[in-house]
Assembly symmetry: C2
Homo-oligomer: 335 residues x 2
Amino acid sequence: MPVTARDVARVAGVSVSTVSRSLAKPDSVSQRTRDKVLETARGMGYRPNLAARGLNTGRTGNIALIVPDLENPFFSSVAKGVQSKARAAGYAVIIADSEEDPSQEAEFVRSLATQVDGVLLCSPRSPDSVITQLAQECSVVLMNRRCGDIPTVTIDNLDGVRQAVMHLRALGHRTIAYVGGPSTSWSNRQRIDALQAVAAEHPELEVIDLGAFQPYISGGIAASDLVIASGATAVLAYNALVAFGILKRLRQRGVRVPEDISVVGVENIPMSILTTPALTSVGIPLVNYGRAGVDMLLSLVRDPSTPPVHHRDLSFRLVVHESTGPSPAALRPSA
Amino acid sequence: MPVTARDVARVAGVSVSTVSRSLAKPDSVSQRTRDKVLETARGMGYRPNLAARGLNTGRTGNIALIVPDLENPFFSSVAKGVQSKARAAGYAVIIADSEEDPSQEAEFVRSLATQVDGVLLCSPRSPDSVITQLAQECSVVLMNRRCGDIPTVTIDNLDGVRQAVMHLRALGHRTIAYVGGPSTSWSNRQRIDALQAVAAEHPELEVIDLGAFQPYISGGIAASDLVIASGATAVLAYNALVAFGILKRLRQRGVRVPEDISVVGVENIPMSILTTPALTSVGIPLVNYGRAGVDMLLSLVRDPSTPPVHHRDLSFRLVVHESTGPSPAALRPSA
DNA sequence: CGAATCTCTGCAACCGTTTGCATACTGGCG
DNA sequence: CGCCAGTATGCAAACGGTTGCAGAGATTCG
């Protein structure tokens, strides 16, 4: 049904190879022939079959993006960036949602490996060993995680956490609770380590790790009562959804934000300005983050001479909204 | 580099065709051979190259999903549903984000046509004529829009709007403003028509159409001052993002919700419970909505004997939260 | 025991491209 | 005028599968 190169060739009175060359390497064909071919091709609405092309070039023109949860605004923003950048470079994006299930990630990569030129693994939940294995089966760029020498785009968690904590410290907070995400999350581990490091630099600070929670609103809701019980005057949340859940539950419990407790999220999603109070957070423009991933992946697959190891570390930026304020403890000198 | 059917054939001591048949039509091969082939295949980690298969079966095993804005929680939820259902059926999903640009939609469909078995066009912005054209170039299922006899999954806008309006009417509201979305949006037109129809049934109601706004938070913010000036005691928003924007701006202006103005959104996204006050809306479970789209598309592409025209209309459900309350006008009889 | 039938397997063509190689033609130069 | 370099084109072999067709055994039945 669709028009093939053979059809174009017949109409234009040339061979299939000439059609192919007219499109792929215009210089290897005479001006006259090329014009004729291109015009008939356009006239007939010819589109080369990418699957067929991929068969012998080895290039499919597709990339895969694997995320743990498409419904999480963090990942949908990243996905938007990935999509737009990839499309601009002539690539289509196959998206897979692993539903936070590590075993699905490997399955996805393997089942997509033949259909794509490279894979963008965003916040993979799989253990290092699996990821290392996958990376030698096909071109992989990691986002939000480091693993050996595999190319990555990450955000500087240590600096981000430091910015958040310094902000809270300046507001007089001394006891800071951390509501963590999945224990399989590399970012989560990073942030815990960062918290310890920053706390070590400032002995007056106490950090309370409240443990692992689901990276959803429900996780934040579940954690909130622990936050209150912990006596902390400030809380840092694994991600924006968790922070939202905390805001919601604190309000339910009658705890005022920021008067009683200050809340900071890691991640800056468009919704953050909508909550009451609007969420203070450290984050980066997520669409750009996705774009950066695509940049790295494409430079990898298009130019294999690129040095195979490549890391890029973006910077968090603190955005202060309404959910942080002076520590209530600071007002009472004895505390 | 990857292991091919030829490799498996060599190791198993059979021909390529036997390998192919062992996987595709197991009955046409003897028990013994099949077992041997399948085992070596598994042992070698063989994965059939889908592009190659697609070349002569005409089936690619991919579907495309085209949405106007991946960052909009509505579409990311739908995408999640599409992804999970498609994957379960053995299909991969190529996602494209048209950025609300009608001309990109057609371009996407055409450029993806050879790589997918069917296209799910979600809330297309293109004119009917273009969509009709696209639908005859490849298998298309429309979501959130009707267009001729093209198979569709929609939500019953008339009933949804009626539920919203009846809710407001019961609360004593008589003047209701509507903040619309893009004029190219079919849903938007549907909802305006529905509003007129419902208003016609209830002469005591006055509906004020405030015009078209961007389907983003910013659109809601932009519309809010018009809402206030309109004198309406209740407002219906094109989608959840717009409703969020309205809530935000009304709060800024010192207008209380729901005491002064009630707000209802069309669309029920997970974030709706997070705003203050939580948003009353009519909506449906979006993940299921995406699944329904995939169901229809797959039944279309897998079984061409299916009657070609198919419409499915899902039902809105009113979810009352905190953003709607008794009309202030009702308290003052003179108003 | 031979022929007909059935089951299983391999051969080869094909899907729509790309690309190395060979060929035909062009023109320039000695 | 003949030769050579160079250019433009076509032929055919891939890429990795699927599938119609035919042939080889095995089985059944007269």
